[in-house]
Symmetry: C2
Subunit: 417 residues, 2 copies
């Protein structure tokens, strides 16, 4: 066994022992521990800001991009937001112990499905140090143990945040091993996490496509993630024209770098006003890469290549195609989509229903911007990520997605004939 495998095995065993304790704890104790963690984050403000300054300085030396440095940076306001997010998670309802359903059999046995925590959750993430706090809080709130592995560029910040939260959790009487941070920045430790079957129950990668792709490729443990967010909006023949423009511009341009940003616009060939729609997007600063029919609408458009239909730009670029109706739109999405979020804009309920049933996406929207693809917007209070997988949890995943269930059978001495 390599040193890294030993490290992760040891952390895994400690996490399982901590899981056995926190999985049994009451709602109130878990919430109290998170409030103590938030307090500790505030109390340790100076050491966290100092640690972050060291990361920022090393990042500048390593010539990280300004976008990366911005993701890495923590100031007083951001730290306060991190602490408040932990408190907000403490305020969320605890899913553990909920009875999902119950039936009574003719022999009198009562069968219940009861929510229980999932187990040991490995979270692998990149530069944002706030993920350390968020992921630890979501995991612990739902009675799980977490093993956190952040990016090397944020190691000092992550350590300082983790130290504070762990102290807070322990001060509240919970085992510190319920939230562990991998202290080495060696990438081999990630490999060890990905193959720790039996110790780690699920891996959640949070970061760019190359991180997620590596995790999905190497993992021998189940992975909850999305690789791409190639989100589509289909403008139907009977779309309201004002809604179409407002939704398309918002879906593409509000924030171009998020996974719910629209990347391809499909316009029905019978939609009466494609020109104003394209112009509105261009006027908002968007580059349009279109098929031949789209290019005829505005001289400022450019030709889309085959690769464009499969590209998640995460920029002010949009591919646009004319389609022959809802079936053609669904066919395009089936061929080029990533099962993340796809939307239809139409006032025709039959077309909306057909699209909703036919799009095999984690999230399907009618007359709304794909930028709503976010756990907070769904009323989940927070999210640990968005899953495009088909198993366990799909779309935005929050506390409930970090639980499973057990069957509880209540009898009075029944034996099976």
């Amino acid at each position: 066994m390599t040193d890294h495998a030993k490290l992760i095995t040891d952390m895994g065993h400690r996490a399982r022992a901590a899981f056995a304790q926190v999985s049994q704890m009451s709602d109130a104790r878990k919430a109290e521990a998170l409030r103590a963690a938030a307090t500790a984050l505030r109390d340790r403000r100076q050491s966290i800001l100092d640690a972050n300054a060291a990361d920022m300085s090393a990042g500048r030396e390593r010539e990280l991009s300004s976008a990366m440095l911005d993701r890495l940076m923590i100031d007083e306001d951001r730290l306060e937001a991190v602490a408040r997010a932990v408190e907000n998670i403490a305020d969320l309802p605890d899913p553990v112990g909920q009875v999902i359903d119950r039936n009574t059999q003719p022999n009198g046995l009562v069968m219940e499905r009861v929510r229980v925590p999932l187990g040991v959750i490995g979270i692998i993430y990149e530069s944002r140090p706030n993920v350390t706090a968020d992921a630890a809080a979501l995991g612990l709130r739902s009675g799980n143990a977490v093993i956190l592995r952040g990016g090397s560029e944020a190691i000092e910040s992550n350590r300082a945040i983790h130290d504070a939260m762990q102290d807070g959790v322990m001060a509240a009487g919970l085992p510190g091993d319920a939230i562990q941070l991998v202290q080495t920045t060696d990438r081999a430790a990630v490999g060890a996490m990905l193959t720790a079957s039996g110790l780690v129950d699920i891996i959640i990668p949070r970061g760019g496509k190359s991180l997620v792709a590596r995790v999905q490729e190497e993992a021998r443990v189940p992975v909850l993630a999305h690789l791409d967010g190639i989100c589509h909006t289909y403008i139907g023949k009977h779309a309201d024209q004002d809604k179409a423009i407002a939704i398309a511009v918002n879906a593409k341009m509000r924030r171009t770098g998020i996974c719910g940003a629209m990347e391809t616009l499909l316009i029905d060939q019978d939609y009466p006003a494609p020109g104003p729609l394209i112009r509105a997007l261009i006027d908002a600063g968007c580059e349009i890469r279109g098929d031949d029919a789209v290019m005829e609408l505005d001289p400022r458009t450019v030709a889309a290549s085959d690769a464009d239909w499969d590209t998640e730009y995460l920029e002010t670029v949009l591919s646009v195609r004319m389609v022959e109706g809802v079936e053609d739109a669904l066919q395009h999405i089936a061929s080029h989509g990533s099962h993340h979020t796809d939307a239809v804009v139409t006032e025709d309920e039959a077309v909306a229903d057909r699209f909703i049933r036919g799009a095999d996406s984690a999230i399907v929207m009618h007359n709304a911007s794909t930028q709503f693809a976010d756990g907070g917007e769904f009323g989940l209070g927070a999210e640990i990520g968005i899953s495009t997988g088909r198993l366990h949890a799909r779309g935005p995943v929050a506390l409930e997605g970090l639980t499973t269930y057990k069957w509880v059978v209540r009898g009075t001495g029944q034996i099976r004939p």
Copy 2:
């Protein structure tokens, strides 16, 4: 790509195309197709019996055990039972389209989680040819496509059953590719199924421990299964003595070969009547392997070795230990259990509650025989298997476990601020 990888890739693509169709079909059409499949099984009775006779004859030549030959054998009664089971599955409620929950956000967006079929399900099984019909029916009932891979000893029977069902399904207008059978008996085809990520969504192995272990080891696709059923019953200090005897004898002796059979009995040291309990088991024909305290109860007991606590006998053998209370019982189960089914017998509700919360098992029972661990007994109508994994579905898995959900967001033009 090897020939087997090509074969499975081709089957996988056809299954995905069929899935795109059957996943959209109404309850009524799927039920009708299964009734047509059941009719076809009856119409093709003679060819199925002939095919089975060929398998039986080859099996005798290969000197299969009488138990294996019995599992392989189909007669008129068994074939009628197979057809009836398909009809029973047709009568079960269709989970697809159910709204799991719904909330309305302050901005008016309505968020719904709606059940949808899971996708392409690979089922790998051993000698029982009835699994061909059961698995195809459960998969199709819930809108999935299945790829079936049965044991080589049952290949002719499986082909005949599959041919009949596929014809029935196609006669009802559904794509035959929704239920495909791997026609080769080469084991390399199994390997190709286990690594068909992106084509196969989940693998369900049904068979002995070596099959399940191989599948869990090699699979790159999620697996839904249980490896062991080392089921425990803990007899508490305040157990009703009649219930204790009835439940223990039933849990061990009703059928010793099923995964829900009790393998270890834990008796509280303060339970007042351990002797009659042990005697009842021995009188029922059970060999008792005990710790020192148990061996003092009856001269017919033998000493348990360390390995006994980790053994799934599937025979008329039981390991028995005296424990120091419910915490000690839970500790033993945590160390030696397989997260399948564990039971407590007690009239003390506090002890029962502690056991129910503390046992990290897919199924936890109070005052009932572990032999009830079966989807039919749970009111699920049928089962595709029992899962001891923590993700997606746990315990007995039937139609709902073969579905996932999508989020449907219903708006009126909302854009994200």
